[in-house]
Amino acid sequence: MKKTYSIVMLSICLALVAAMAGCSGRTGGETSGDNADAKDGIAVYVGTTIFSESLDPVKGAMSYGYSFTNNALLKVDPQSEYVGDLATDWSVTDDALVYTFKLRDGVRFSDGSDFTAEDVAFTYNTVKENQANNENVDLTRLQSAEALDDYTVEFTLSEPYSPFLDTAAMLGIVPSDGYDSEAFDRFPIGTGAWKVAQYDADQQIIVEANEDYYEGAPAIPRVAIVYLDGEAALPAARSGDLDISMVTPNFASDRIDGMRLEAFETMDVRNISLPVRAETTMQNADGDEVIVGNDVTSDVNVRKALAIGIDRATIIENAFNGIGKPAFGFTDNLLWADTEIDADAKRDEAKGILEAAGWIDADGDGVREKDGRACAFTVYAASSDNDRYLLAAALSEDAKELGVDIEVKTASWDEFGKLQYSSGIVWGWGQYSPTVLDSLFNSGEFMKGPFSNVVGYDNADADARIEAAYGAGDQADAIENWKEAQRIANADYPYLYLVNIEHCYFVSDALDISAETQIPHPHGHGSPIICNMKDWTLK
């Protein structure tokens, strides 16, 4: 009997010892790891969009203006103005058809080759030839890209295209000799401040400072951009493994020793598409029958009542812990945004509109009806994005005040293809280029692109303004037309704008992320913080 027990106890002890060995081994490993980190670089979690796409600029990588491996001709400064990057100077002819860029001298790619006009022409022509692979840069109106000499490149357009400067700021330049479509997905060669040293799909991308960077090598030698499940961001930050950890607003009220919370201004707005057409069925681009339109949201009075009647501050408080600004359209950090509307929480006025339109709660269940139809519709949020679900849920709660019943559901992006024409969808928009207005309001885009003009908006005046904006000879003229297009469309309230979000990060107290050179963050789920990574320093 005793011996049995000793055998059993022995085996339990052995198991415990094995576990202990793991523990103590860890202590050693940890310490050396920390030391190595402090010396060699930092680890950041800035969302996962970087991992989900190719890093090759030719295929549209990081086109929101935060490529760290490849510079573009221009870049955006913190005031949202275009300034030179690889180009030092540029000019546009009066007919707005020819753009000439003077290039920076003495810049080298990370493979050691010299940067010249040849590379620029190559990049633009390659993208134009493979336009289908790049949905972020539209070069269909580019007729030719030519190197006039080593440091001058000339673009000729087939017709005026006012957002071309934006294109020049988005498209990172690749070397004409070293370009390799396959390798560049993970290891792009560029003139940027960083080069990719290690790429572990859906785990981490380790970038190292480009010692030859033309503005001087970054102060931090190595940055590990890590992939985490969103929910792991906070604990990972708390564990001390991360120097930056993006968190959703819901976690922003937490405190972490040795880290501070920074919330950054963005141009990223969340709105909900409200189908403007009456319900019917149509064939989509793939030839499938889809339900189009919604008999509740097609009433402009319902859309308007929501737009002016909901209390955005409460919604933001509920969904996002109060982080973010109420939004009524695009944001004022965009040169082309129209920011005239700002009606909010006008409950009585909204109720009046609904009642005048015949939406009355006759049966006392809290939901208005008209002709036997309840004032109810469904809003879908992407199942992968909990923040959008929260936003929709908070909206739903607030809309009850107005007697509008919004059912919130989740669906995958694939499923949106069938749902988006007849239900509300929570969208996120935020980019420097005004072309977003084209995909929101242009009647020609309806049922064309995967997520374009899903509400079915159709207004000839708005279409004309968009067309005029594209063809405008000078920027001021273009901007005026973009603004007018928004004014026309927003009067019909096809989209219910809710919030201009802020990106929240826990940042190590030892790290200075150069707030003064941060640009307003475009859409990109938090990644844009790294756009000025070269200016960061460790204290």
């Binding site: 009997m1 005793k2 011996k3 049995t4 027990y5 055998i7 059993v8 085996s11 339990i12 052995l14 198991a15 576990a19 060995a21 793991g22 523990c23 081994g25 860890r26 050693g28 490993g29 940890e30 050396s32 790891g33 190595a36 980190d37 670089g41 930092i42 680890a43 950041v44 979690y45 796409e53 190719s54 295929k59 493979n130 289908a132 692979n133 790049n134 997905d185 993970r186 040293a197 290690q198 572990d200 799909a201 859906d202 785990q203 981490q204 380790i206 590990a224 890590v226 985490l228 499940d229 792991a232 604990p235 990972a236 564990s239 493994d241 991360l242 694939d414």
Partner: protein, 340 residues
């Protein structure tokens, strides 16, 4: 209760020590059948076959897409498509994963190496600890320790693995801060710098969870066998010869129970795999389990097919070993009752 299963049903032939060639052939046929089953399930999904191989956001040229369609027979009827797939597999070509944009075989190799470590440690630990606990409990049948073990095991068997993982994570990592929250190595450390200790440290909680999740069955099985044997005639006989409980345990019981217990452990590879997948999800451990969910959620057909096949191979290996052991067993012993 949660019964052990042996892939090939017990029969007279199984009693022979060496696995007959016929059985081996039968099991191999079974593997092929399983691969056909997986193939049908995966390829009959609503996803367009070409999309399923190149991804919805493919940037490939039309010519490249045609090449892939021809290579995998995506426009052929299902039987031919299967044969093409199987043919490519035999040449080691599993296709390219959409999710990870790398050859499927590389991903499976890499991920499996992580998962195998996790599964085997948990498997061995739960086996050894469970066996020891079962013997202890069985020897003192009806005692406090026995009752505690029995309740503990019944509860563990009813607790979902992922919930156990969540509790472990919440307590050991969040509240106490003893262990990392997840992953297989410190965040941001280049692969070459990751030490053995790093790996071990990140393994502890997932291993603990998986061990605890799978310990119930083997403990109760051992205990049950021991009790059955203690009630048997030959124990009475031995006692009559004057052997003490300690001698008995050492000379007869452990020896006679060990083999069926090991057999049961081998036959539980299927549940082990499922538990591993759940534990990996909780701990964001980059093993084959997280790859399985990622592949299925992203419609990554080549990877899903590859993983299905490898998981079948894994279960197959466990069952094969169990069957061989079963053949070695005393024919009088009933290994792994096929009760529900």
């Amino acid at each position: 209760m949660r019964g052990t299963r042996l892939a090939a049903s017990p029969g007279g032939v199984m009693r022979k020590i060496i696995l007959p060639a016929g059985i081996a052939a039968r099991m191999f046929l079974l593997l092929i059948a399983v691969s056909i089953l997986s193939f049908i399930l995966i390829t009959e999904s609503p996803i367009d076959p070409l999309t399923s191989y190149v991804g919805a956001e493919s940037t490939l040229s039309e010519a490249a897409k045609d090449e892939i369609a021809a290579h995998w027979g995506l426009n052929d009827p299902a039987p031919e498509r299967y044969l093409k797939w199987a043919g490519n597999l035999l040449r080691g070509d599993f296709g390219v994963s959409i999710t990870y944009k790398r050859p499927v075989i590389d991903i499976i190799r890499e991920r499996f190496s992580y998962s195998v470590v996790l599964m085997m440690i948990a498997w061995a630990l739960s086996g050894v600890l469970g066996f020891a606990m079962g013997i202890c409990a069985g020897l003192r049948r009806g005692g406090v320790f026995d009752k505690a073990v029995k309740t503990f095991c019944l509860v563990l068997q009813s607790a979902p693995t992922f919930w156990l993982g969540l509790l472990a994570l919440s307590f050991f990592s969040v509240t106490l801060g003893w262990f990392p929250i997840g992953m297989a190595a410190p965040i941001g450390k280049p692969a070459v710098d990751v030490t053995f200790a790093d790996r071990a440290y990140h393994l502890i909680l997932p291993v603990l969870t998986l061990t605890v999740a799978s310990i119930g069955k083997i403990t109760l099985y051992t205990r049950q066998k021991l009790i059955e044997m203690m009630d048997g005639n030959f124990i009475l006989f031995a006692r009559a010869r004057g052997e003490t409980t300690g001698q008995l345990t050492r000379r007869h019981l452990i020896r006679n129970i060990a083999l069926p217990a090991v057999t049961v452990q081998f036959a539980s590879f299927s549940e082990l795999f499922g538990g591993m997948a759940l534990a990996e999800t909780v701990f964001s451990y980059p093993g084959i389990g997280t790859a399985t969910t990622a592949a299925a959620l992203n419609g990554d057909v080549p990877l899903l097919l590859g993983i299905a096949l490898f998981s079948a191979l894994f279960v197959f290996a466990g069952n094969l070993i169990a069957n061989i052991l079963y053949g070695v067993l005393d024919p009088g012993l009933k290994a792994g009752g096929d009760y529900v």
